[in-house]
Symmetry: C2
Subunit: 380 residues, 2 copies
């Protein structure tokens, strides 16, 4: 086990009716900016619940943080927040709204352009932020990470701000989500775990088990989560799985990969494809291309998650990779670039960008432009 520091101060407030706790969770003297996405919070009743809970408090609203939040939009929120002397941010939405709000929280205490902070990569000098989650996928509600886009230049980078002070997770808010969003959320959750699990074997038995615990849960609940009716127990497991998949709890003392994510981000930047949907494609290329490097863990993953224990090791790995792709297909998602009309032009551009950045991604830091090309060609 490697040395590590774990420190996740976010308070998780989970369950039905918990939005009503907002006035107890936000100090009474705060000037609050509530940030929203495109309007689903109005349709699903969450907006009404939040406004009712905060009656009598000083708050302002900022609407329109888009999927894959852009610095262009966030600059406007920062301007509004500065103008109103806001000192608390409440993100109401999914990962994109919370991600964007992490940059707003830093931007409020920064004199220059928020994009400077993105290029710098991190800033922990922020006003406090919190969230009411309405879409389970990214884990942003209980980590300090964000991914921010710049549309002018089609760039998309990771940014690390602060952890939310609290996050309210009411599974009932997921009942009105379109099926495709749940599918992408499940894929995102699954691949978040794989990025922290399909690495060098033998680092931590306990972290392996916890990662596998989330994978088992996602596999078991997926059919019901995507069914015609929504039940509370299933939505609870889905919501909690998504949060625990990326809140540092399954990465204590172990290495991580994230190459699939880095390639996926480029697909989103270039084609606007939903994050989870990019991962459901790219992961298959990653596993096929890096199967030797991930040999031991692929065997363990195949045996423990898919029950594949017969045949030679290479046969078992073949079947494990096939079974994994079949799982993403069962969610109703594309697993090949060609299904999304993506081909050589995009591969060439991503290869160029990876080479230009000079950064080598992945656990073994061997995912450069050429390797990114091989991975993408393996999921054409």
């Amino acid at each position: 086990m490697n040395n590590f520091i774990y420190h996740n101060p976010t308070q998780l407030v989970f369950g039905k009716g918990q939005i009503a706790r907002l006035p107890k969770l936000i100090p009474a003297d705060k000037r609050i900016l509530i940030t929203f996405g495109g309007g689903s919070a109005r349709r699903n009743g969450v907006y009404d619940q939040v406004v009712r809970a905060l009656e009598g408090r000083t708050f302002f609203e900022f609407w329109g943080i888009e999927a894959n939040p852009s610095v262009e939009t966030l600059r406007k929120a920062v301007a509004l927040g500065k103008e109103q002397h806001v000192d608390f941010l409440l993100a109401v939405g999914g990962g994109s709204v919370i991600d964007g709000t992490k940059l707003i929280a830093a931007g409020l205490l920064y004199d220059g352009d928020p994009w400077d902070l993105v290029l710098r990569g991190s800033s922990s000098h922020t006003v406090p932020l919190a969230s009411v989650l309405t879409m389970a996928a990214t884990g942003s509600e209980m980590n300090n990470g964000a991914v921010i886009s710049r549309y002018e230049t089609r760039e998309k980078y990771a940014f690390y701000g602060n952890y939310p002070v609290f996050s309210i997770l009411d599974p009932e808010t997921l009942f009105t989500l379109p099926k495709r969003q749940i599918a992408c959320g499940l894929a995102d959750t699954f691949v978040h775990v794989l990025e922290q699990y399909l690495t060098t074997p033998g680092q931590s038995r306990l972290m392996d088990r916890w990662a596998e615990g989330i994978l088992h849960t996602v596999v078991e609940i997926a059919p019901k989560a995507l069914g015609e009716t929504r039940d509370y127990a299933t939505m609870s497991e889905y919501m909690l799985s998504a949060t625990l998949a990326l809140n540092d709890m399954i990465r204590m003392g172990v290495t991580q990969d994230w190459a699939t994510h880095m390639i996926g981000h480029e697909l989103t930047a270039l084609h606007g494809l939903t994050h989870g949907a990019t991962l459901a494609i790219v992961i298959n290329g990653t596993l096929r291309t890096l199967r030797d490097q991930k040999h031991g863990k692929l065997l363990q993953f195949g045996e423990r998650i898919w029950g594949i224990s017969e045949g030679s090791e290479e046969e078992r790995i073949d079947r494990t990779i096939e079974r994994t792709e079949a799982f993403f297909r069962s969610l109703g998602l594309s697993t090949r670039l060609s299904q999304e009309g993506i081909g050589e032009a995009t591969i060439a551009e991503i290869e160029r960008r990876f080479n230009a950045s000079g950064v080598h991604h992945g656990e073994a830091q061997n995912v450069d432009g050429a390797m990114a090309r091989r991975i993408l060609e393996a999921c054409l």
Copy 2:
């Protein structure tokens, strides 16, 4: 899944050499009281590491917090801390030292007798405390619980204070532990999980998996952990398992039991038996006595942890309970009261105490004096 609030702010600093980080973790202006147990910290070199790390800082030492820390001892530490205007506590030791330090932290800000606070059950008005863990078992390093004894009256009660600000876990500090202490630590860890897992089935797939992940890990590492040589990987898994078994991470949204603990505490109070050793006995009586109530979870536990899947349900439960007792025996611990020379007199006294308290323990709140007697008779 039940509604829940999870909020664990402790910073976990894990790995070899991490004690040297102390000066970065404790603000420079703090007047520190370092609390120790009986002297093992001197023998295993941890004392030297701590003192070297804190060179130039203002600190005082309090030695002698005993196993099952007593208010009689802790009163003296509170007096010393008040006299020296201490505003930060650093516990260096195992669960007993950290438990005791949680009461000292509250006692320093309280004018009366610390025992008042124990009788009140909790106090979050404390000076900040932190820990350097040297014995893995209780999870006290990452929770806010403590168990405090009063020798004059042979009483022992739970007390809830604050979470440590940080806890340093260096697995190398466990290398010199006597084998019996490791055995008790493994038993304690295992039963902590069972208290949160062997309850009503179907509450959370994910929490079940995480609980089972710790059980698997403990079972797998036990032979090596108790072997003649100590290796870092095994001690790391043991140390992390003990912490994650009781830091709120496996109890999100699920019910808990703790009746075994309540009975075990009485055995410690009356006979001075080590906490983990009491659990390795009482749990067997609990499972035999409450087998119908725990039917569904015993089947799941038997199948997933011990691989017991053949035979009728009652046969499987029989074998699961036998296999669990065999596991505790394999640690070299007693699993029957008679092995410790404990019999009817003690059972009668515990029955009397449970009846006198009027509290009904356990998930179903059905463990009163009569049920405690049945449980104890079932592990005679």
